[in-house]
Amino acid sequence: VTPKQEVYAAALMLRAQKGEEEAYAKLLVLLTAAGRSYVRSRTGRPVPWIDDAVQEILVAVHQARHTFDGRRPFAPWFYAIVRNRFVDVVRRERRIRHHEITGTEWPDPPSADERTSRVDMDAVRHALALLPPRQREVVEAIKLRDERVRDIAARLAMTVTSVKVTAHRGYRTLRRLLGVDLREE
C-alpha cells in the first residue's frame, strides 16, 4: 500500500464503517491486491493457497473493521491483521503438508482440464442419453448449446419456471446415474 493508497483506503474504511457498501467493495478489492502481493512477497514463489490466505485476510479485516481508528494510519492496522492471518495460514498449510503429503514439493493445483479428465466422459455422455427426453433436451440446451432459458421455454412450449425445474431434475438424475453423492452438495 503506497502512502496515497493508504489515505484512500483509510477514507474508504471510514465510509465502510458507516455502512457504505460501494466504499467497502472498493476497499476490499484494493485489499485483495495488497494481500495477494504480501503473500507473494513472503512466500517468494507461487503457492496454491494464495487465494485461501487472501480470503482469510478479507474475512479478518471484515471482523476487525470496527477497531480501525481514523486518527491512526491504515497500513499498520491492515498489515498487523495480514501478518496474523498469514502466519495462521502458513502453519495450517505446513500441518496439512506434514500429515497428508510425503514429498518436498507442493504439487501444483490440478487445472480444470486435469480434474475433468478424471471424469469418464463416456459415462457422462451415456448418462445424458439415459435421461428422460424432456430432461435431456433441457439439460443439453442449457449446458451444451448455451441457449437462454426463455428461448428454450418458447421452443418447447413450456414456462420459464418449468424449464428450470426440469433442468434441476435432470441434474439430480445425472448425479444419481453418475454416482455423485448428493450429501456432498
Binding site: A16, Q17, K18, G19, E21, Y24, A25, L28, V29, T32, P48, D51, D52, V54, Q55, L58, V59, A60, H62, Q63, A64, R65, H66, T67, F68, D69, G70, R71, R72, P76, W77, F78, Y79, A80, I81, N84, P109, P110, A112, D113, R115, T116, S117, V119, M121, V124, R125, L128, E140, K143, L144, Y171, L174, R175, L178, V180, E184
Partner: protein
Amino acid sequence: VGTGRLGVFWESTFVKSERPDLSLTIATLVRSAASVVALEPPLARFARWMLAATALAFAAVIVLGPRADAGVQTLNTWFLARASATLAIMVTAGMLAFSTSVPAGEPSLLVRAVPLAMCLVWAAILVSTLPTGRSGLVLLLQVTPHPSCVLSIAATALSPAFLMLRMLRRAVPLQATLTAGFAALASLTGGALGAQFVCTNDAAAHHLLWHFTPVVLLTLAGAAAGSLLLRFR
C-alpha cells in the same frame, strides 16, 4: 457433443471449486456489512475499566470485611509501598491489555516489559524487607498457611476480570496470550491491592508467599485460559 464442452458442463455443474472465489467473498462481505460503531481508543476503554474495577474492588473489600485499621494503614509507609507497587502493575498491565487488543496497537518490547519489571520491583520490596539473620527459605517455610488471602485476591479480582474480558472480546486481540496475560495481571494485582485492605498480616514473608506468588501463578493460568477465550478467529 465434444469432450471439452462436456468437461465444462461437468466442471460447472458437479465439480466443487478447489479455490475460493474472491469476488464472491467480497460480494458476501459487502452484503453483510452493516454500519459499525468504531471502538473507542484503548486509553478511553482502559479509563472506563479502571473506574469500574475500582468500584467493584471496593465493593468486594466491603463484602469481605476490611481490616479495622484500614484508615490508619493508608498512612503507613510499608503499606503504601506495597499498595503503590500493585497499583502500578495494575495500571500498566491494564493499559497494555487494552492497547494490545487492537491491530497495530502493540507497543515496543521495552514497553511491554514494564509490568514485568514492576512485578520484580514488588518482589524486591517484599524480599528486601524480610527479617535478616535467617535464610529466606526457612522464613517462607515458617509462614502460617493463609489460603483465605488467595481467596480474597481471587474474589476481588473476579468481577474486574470478567468486565475486562468482556471489553477485550469486543476488540481484536491478535496476540491473545499476551493480551490475556496483561488482563489477568491487571485484574489480579487489583485483587491483591484490595486484599491488602482485608488481610491483617503485614509480614513480608506472608505477602511474598500468599499474595505475590498466587498473583503470579493465577496470572499464568489466566493467560492460558484467556488466550482461548480471546483468540481471534
